[in-house]
């Protein structure tokens, strides 16, 4: 049975609401404690979510596919820098970038460069406000720097390993 794409995300939500209904019937204490926790979480998260929306808008406005491809054409260290930035700034689901990356590979981009791009997609700038809210600025700065460093290490290792194989 094929489930409508628009309905799919709501199935999980409906399922959780259903569990809440069960608790409402059988254990009101847990039901109300959970709602209280939910209320407090939402109050804390919503301002950060507004900021996420603004960042998403800005990245959609200023950074598009053309912008990224244009900067990929550099060479040497510059190429790595733009690949890292491209990975961080690229938006949308990962699989929409697969055809472009495949195309770039046929144009001479190494496996390591592609792995580096994919790794840096893990750094989600628009969601940083929420991450800072939970973990603090110092932690997020260190984590981001470590992820960038390891994206390069991964790229270099993959280049070496796949070449040797």
């Amino acid at each position: 049975m094929k489930i409508n794409k628009k309905i799919k995300p709501y199935i999980f939500l409906i399922f959780v609401i259903f569990i809440y209904l069960i608790f409402f019937i059988f254990n009101k204490s847990i039901f109300f404690t959970s709602l209280d926790f939910l209320k407090n979480t939402l109050i804390k998260i919503l301002p950060a979510f507004a900021f996420v929306f603004v960042l998403m808008f800005l990245s959609n406005y200023f950074i598009d596919r053309k912008f990224i491809i244009k900067h990929f054409e550099n060479s040497g260290i510059k190429k790595w820098i733009f690949i890292i930035l491209g990975g961080i700034l690229s938006t949308g689901p990962i699989y929409i970038w697969y055809p472009l990356l495949k195309d770039l590979r046929t144009k001479g981009f190494s496996n390591g460069i592609i792995a580096c791009f994919l790794y840096n997609r893990g750094i989600k700038l628009p969601f940083i406000p929420i991450a800072i809210y939970y973990f603090g600025l110092k932690y997020i700065v260190i984590l981001t720097l470590l992820m960038i460093i390891f994206s390069i290490i991964q790229g270099l290792i993959i280049n070496k390993t796949l070449k040797e194989n």
């Binding site: 809440y20 926790f37 929306f53 699989y95 697969y98 997609r121 809210y133």
Partner: protein, 145 residues
């Protein structure tokens, strides 16, 4: 204000709104579920799972859980944040956050069909190992700073 492209503003706003709306049901469902679990499961339960092990096993466990989890990274921050509030070790949470966004278990077939099996296996394997390493490193760095 000839430099501002009104059409592009509209498209960018719509795209941002669409993304937010698309993650909203899962986002709400997750927060609801976390709220419920928070009421049912005690802090001691989480602590027992993670803190029995050492720095490496905690990171390893965090990396496995993050690696098989799917969904928008916002969810990983919320889950990770609540685990942190429950006293889970920062190395485990970091490994969980990093593997959530760098390992794509669900996309492995698609990734392999486009970039090849070897590339996909190596990339995901290194992403897994690095999430453990980053978990350990961040703990060490934070203890120094």
């Amino acid at each position: 204000m000839q430099y501002i492209d009104k059409n592009k503003i509209n498209i960018s706003l719509k795209k941002a709104l669409k993304t937010i709306i698309s993650i909203l049901p899962i986002f709400l469902g997750t927060i609801l579920l976390i709220s419920l679990l928070n009421s049912i499961i005690s802090k001691e339960f989480y602590l027992e799972i993670f803190q029995k092990g050492n720095l490496i096993t905690n990171s390893f466990l965090g990396s496995i859980i993050g690696g098989i989890s799917i969904g928008t990274p916002v969810l990983s921050y919320i889950i990770g944040g609540e685990l942190l509030n429950n006293g889970i070790h920062i190395s485990a949470i970091t490994a969980f956050l990093v593997s959530w966004v760098t390992i794509g278990v669900i996309q492995i077939p698609l990734e392999a069909s486009i970039f090849g099996k070897r590339f996909t296996i190596y990339r995901n394997l290194f992403a897994f190992l690095f999430s453990i390493l980053i978990g350990i490193l961040i703990y060490l760095i934070l203890s120094i700073l």
